[in-house]
């Protein structure tokens, strides 16, 4: 529309689009019955949920807060971990982190299952820790950026997890500049962070292993990550993280299929449920992501949620 028409149209619409209380009342009065907030919360609770990525002990909040949100949002079980995010992540560090998680599990056994952490730089101690923690009821491994997921140091850990049929959840980045990725735009270099290409590499080397690419809502370029992981069928992504961008979950399903997408919060509880409920997916796809996919992974290792 050209400027003259625009001005003329405006002039003929003397009332403009001014809205006020009378219009608001009219709108409310003229509306057909619509869903109530209570209806929406019923929908939230209609899906069983397994939180495949959540922490305790990385902030001052205790496991009570996890359980509070589990009850508030209908999350059946949380798979909690405390990766070592500072310092050398020596054996005494990851043992202490796992001990903390074991205590949380014992306090809330009906809601919390622990994932152990380790540092593959310490091969013997890490393998011992897998034995100790799984023996105490922990399931799966959560690792951070001490070592890249495709580093040979990880081989014996991954081989052990193949034997146990357990998944390995690795912190992941696709942020511009991270880990040597597009250095031109670098912001904060964490050279050992795992990027999608590292997952592609290790997943091809160990096609029988199960890898979990962490938090596509945790700040990475999720379009890049999902596209990069498309042809790595043994890599799952979890949708956790603070970002709840429209179309993120749908894009992951489109790229990877609904069977490779896992529900997770990374302690961002509102966003994790909000983006799933709002996603333009079928109920069956949502059920898979919220619960079935992770439960199927658990079943492979002899663990499952009834």
């Amino acid at each position: 529309m050209n400027r003259r028409n625009f001005v003329r149209n405006m002039a003929t619409s003397a009332s403009g689009i001014i809205l006020g209380s009378s219009l608001l009342q009219e709108t409310a009065a003229g509306m057909a019955p619509r869903p109530t907030p209570a209806d929406r919360m019923k929908e939230v609770f209609s899906y069983r949920k397994l939180d495949a990525h959540v922490h305790v002990g990385l902030t001052n909040d205790g496991p009570e807060l996890n359980v509070d949100y589990a009850e508030r949002l209908g999350i059946d079980r949380m798979f909690i971990s405390k990766p070592v995010t500072r310092g050398p992540a020596a054996p005494e560090d990851f043992r202490a982190a796992n001990d903390f998680i074991l205590k949380c599990m014992k306090r809330f056994p009906e809601r919390l299952t622990g994932m152990l952490t380790l540092n593959p730089t310490y091969k013997r101690e890490s393998l011992e820790e897998i034995k100790r923690c799984t023996g105490e009821g922990m399931w799966g491994v959560k690792v951070y950026y001490q070592v890249k997921i495709n580093d040979p140091l990880f081989y014996p850990i991954i081989e052990k997890l193949i034997d146990l049929k357990m998944i390995i959840l690795m912190h992941a980045e696709t942020t511009l500049g991270i880990a040597g990725y597009r250095m031109k735009y670098d912001q904060k270099i964490k050279p050992q962070s795992s990027i999608p290409e590292n997952f592609v590499d290790i997943a091809a080397r160990y096609p029988e292993a199960m890898f979990q690419f962490a938090h596509i809502g945790g700040g990475p370029d999720w379009e890049y990550a999902c596209k990069a992981l498309r042809n790595s069928p043994n890599v799952y992504v979890d949708v956790s993280g603070s970002n709840n961008e429209n179309n993120m979950v749908e894009f992951a399903v489109e790229c990877l299929g609904a069977d490779r997408v896992l529900y997770g919060s990374d302690n961002m509880y509102y966003q994790s449920v909000g983006k799933m409920i709002d996603a333009r997916l079928t109920e069956e796809q949502k059920r898979k992501i919220f619960f079935d996919n992770y439960n199927n992974i658990l079943k492979k290792g002899g663990y499952h949620v009834d």
Partner: protein, 261 residues
């Protein structure tokens, strides 16, 4: 009744948005039972002449009767671009817009730029709200052509100090809520309305207890964000955290009062 105080039409140049038009937004509003949405044209963040975006928004809303009834358009004004005072007057007087939004980091001026201060005083004098957006997208996944730095809540406080009697909407609290004591006092004493879309509202009850129940209203930040999260923060409150009257404030009461609807 439900009012969304933070929604958009328009494009984000670095990523495809879905349902980023009045029709798409209206579909979500119907789905969630939302009566009215404050809406802004994202294109105005990127157009040098933001008035073109305001005209686009005005035209889009006028294109269908249902839109006129359901959308409350806010203009984007760039106070360092020629003609901004005329733009403001056109949007407020001719288009009937009840609010403006400014994007100082995207439009490359400081929060205490004399032109911005003058614009906010004009808004105050015309009884028009001023929207300040903490973040549109997360800089960690930004395009190489997008801004590398973000402004936190504290970076906007100097404007509130310059014009303490204006009405401010602080939207998408996603860049840190830590404030020096003096800044926090400024915010608490100002006529401020926060929306519920931001990621730093990790525990809504704690946040509204800190700033005051009268300072929060539902906001979706849609179609950049999903539509439901901002609402879930309200609807998942426990009864001991917020009774039905409190929830009504968050759903529509605070927005109605603040926007004088």
């Amino acid at each position: 009744m439900l009012i969304d105080i933070n929604a958009y039409t328009g494009h984000w140049p670095f990523k495809r948005l879905l349902n980023n038009h009045c029709e798409g937004l209206l579909e979500r509003m119907k789905e969630y039972g939302v009566d009215l949405s404050v809406i802004t044209n994202l294109n105005g963040v990127f157009y040098k002449n933001t008035q073109s975006a305001n005209e686009e928004l005005y035209e889009e809303i006028r294109s269908k009767r249902a839109y006129k009834d359901r959308f409350l358009p806010f203009a984007i004004i760039n106070p360092i671009y020629a003609g901004w005072k005329d733009d403001f007057k056109t949007c407020v007087k001719d288009f009937g817009m009840k609010g403006i939004r400014v994007f100082p980091n995207y439009h490359d001026y400081t929060i205490t730029d004399p032109n911005l201060v003058e614009l906010v005083k004009m808004a105050r004098d015309h009884d028009v709200a001023v929207g300040l957006t903490m973040r549109i997208v997360d800089s960690r996944q930004r395009s190489w052509m997008d801004l590398a730095t973000e402004w936190g809540l504290k970076d906007y406080v100097p404007l509130l100090r310059e014009v303490p009697d204006a009405r401010y909407m602080l939207l998408n609290l996603s860049t840190g809520l830590a404030l020096p004591e003096e800044d926090e006092a400024t915010l608490k004493n100002a006529n401020v309305l926060f929306d519920t879309s931001g990621r730093h509202i990790t525990h809504f009850a704690k946040v509204f207890n800190r700033f005051g129940k009268e300072k929060f209203a539902f906001g979706s930040h849609f179609p950049v964000f999903d539509y439901y999260t901002g609402l879930l923060r309200i609807e998942s409150l426990r009864k001991e955290e917020a009774d039905e009257a409190d929830r009504a404030l968050f759903r529509q009461g605070n927005a109605q009062r603040f926007l004088k609807l």
